[in-house]
Amino acid sequence: MRPLQTLWGYYIRMTIKWPGLAALIPFIPLIALWSFVVWLELFPRVFLPGPGDVLIKAWELLYKGILLDYLGDSVVRLSVGAAAGMALAIPLGIFIGLNSRAHEVSWPILLFFQAIGDIAWLPILLIWFGFGLTTMTFVIVYTVLFPVVLNTVLGIRSVNPELRRAAQSLGASRPRILFEVTLPGALPNIITGLRNGLGYGWRALIAAEIIVGTSGIGFLMFDARRAGSVEEIVVGMIVLGILWYIVDSWILAPIERATGQRWGLVSS
């Protein structure tokens, strides 16, 4: 116990000194474990490639230019889908959160559709919209929608009503109250909703690209898989993970720090 504790204390101090390291260190044991399992040959290499194999494959894909091309395609699809999803989900969440009639009408419908996966929709969507960006966007929007709406509604409903009253009696109109009071108050929840929604939107994209895809990271992963190679899957997972890591830690987390945490709504 003791040495572990010292080690832990050392780690904490180090992360405070070099926050950048905090992002890398936790992966070291993971990669070590992975290498170890591969080294033990518990599973045949073809089914569980080692870090080295994956790196080589990644380099190969990068070298051929496929990786970047496909990554570009996926990112475009995701951005379109995420932008459309947010543009739809946040206002919808606000509307439902503010208006109890809208809540009453839409809640059952929302919950009903929430459980019906995008994969179930795909065959029907394909017939409606074809194999293009529209279908992809639809699938992503569909996935982003629910976590963002649910969290936004919660956020709005948990804003202290006294703050809204204060704004009203200081002369704020309804739209002003929305922007000056309700939205900032709901922001921590909205961000968590986005974190969940976009994260899962990313997953939906992969699922969609397997079927709809003609390019993209999901396509890359499963195109190879159809011929029996697992390496591309792992490469794809790592690329996706890193990409999302960047989005979260460079966009969402800073917003979070500058708002909810700074205002003391959320303890850091």
Partner: protein, 268 residues
């Protein structure tokens, strides 16, 4: 002069009326669906009308297959979801309480949160076995991250003085957890579970592509392979209804009896 602004207290609506109020938007949806299909004269292969779906559904009810499928799916979803909740809630709380744990776990959490269940299937099969193990993992993976993030948010929005008060009244770690952190984070945990369980059903459909000959996802895929769109739509409806029931019977009452009653969120 404005009409009398006085509001008279209305007694809480009866259960039947509540249920009706909840159901009418769904009835509306069914009507819209039927009218659209008839008005646009949609090919049943593209989207079937209401009677076709009902009769297809009726057939599966009579021959008992529906019950088998629903039973199998419910079992898988419950196991995966329960596992995810019992791991995610403590993890979210630990991260919300301890800065060290959160710095250590945030990067891997971020990294893994976008990795879709289907991408895991080949690897999950290796580790957890084909069939139940892999399916459970995919569902777990769908629920885990949302619940973790929402719990984390819930814990960090508990006002510090409440935690202080409990500590100075002698609450130990366990009591702090059960008496303060859990109830305080409850609004967000419920929303997390609500979002997560929605994703669990989606994950299930993806997972039941593999290694099964029962389950709603299996039913859906088989129908897809033989272009039985009405069975696809029926399976989707069944999934939606089951989820609605779960939400109505488990989550909504929990919410009403706790966070709404405590005045932590406004009543809907």
């Amino acid at each position: 002069m404005a009409a009398d602004q006085t509001t008279i207290f209305r007694p809480a609506p009866s259960r039947v009326r509540q249920a009706l109020r909840f159901l009418w938007p769904l009835f509306g949806l069914v009507v819209v669906w039927q009218v659209l299909v008839m008005a646009l004269d949609v090919n049943p292969r593209v989207f079937p009308d209401v009677p076709t779906v009902l009769s297809a559904g009726w057939k599966t009810i009579i021959d008992g297959t529906l019950l088998t499928h629903v039973g199998a799916s419910l079992l898988r979803v419950s196991v995966g979801t329960v596992l995810a909740i019992v791991t995610a809630v403590p993890l979210g709380i630990a991260m919300g309480v301890s800065r060290g744990i959160s710095t250590f776990l945030t990067p891997p959490l971020r990294f893994f949160s976008v990795l879709a269940g289907i991408a895991w299937i080949p690897i999950a099969t290796l580790w957890f076995g084909y069939g139940f193990g892999a399916i459970t993992f995919v569902i777990f993976n769908a629920v885990f991250f949302v619940v973790t993030y929402n719990t984390l948010l819930g814990v960090s929005t508990i006002p510090m003085p409440l935690r202080h008060a409990a500590a100075s009244l002698g609450a130990g770690h366990w009591q702090m957890l059960t008496q303060v952190l859990l109830p305080g984070a409850l609004p967000n945990i419920v929303t997390g579970i609500r979002t997560g369980m929605g994703f669990a059903w989606r994950g299930l459909i993806a997972a039941e592509m593999i290694a099964t000959n029962t389950g709603l996802g299996y039913m859906l895929f088989l129908a897809r392979d033989f272009y039985r769109t009405e069975v696809i739509v029926f399976a989707m409806i069944v999934i939606g209804i089951i989820w609605l029931l779960l939400d109505r019977l488990l989550l909504a009452p929990l919410e009403r009896a706790t966070v709404e009653r405590w005045g932590m969120v406004q009543r809907s």
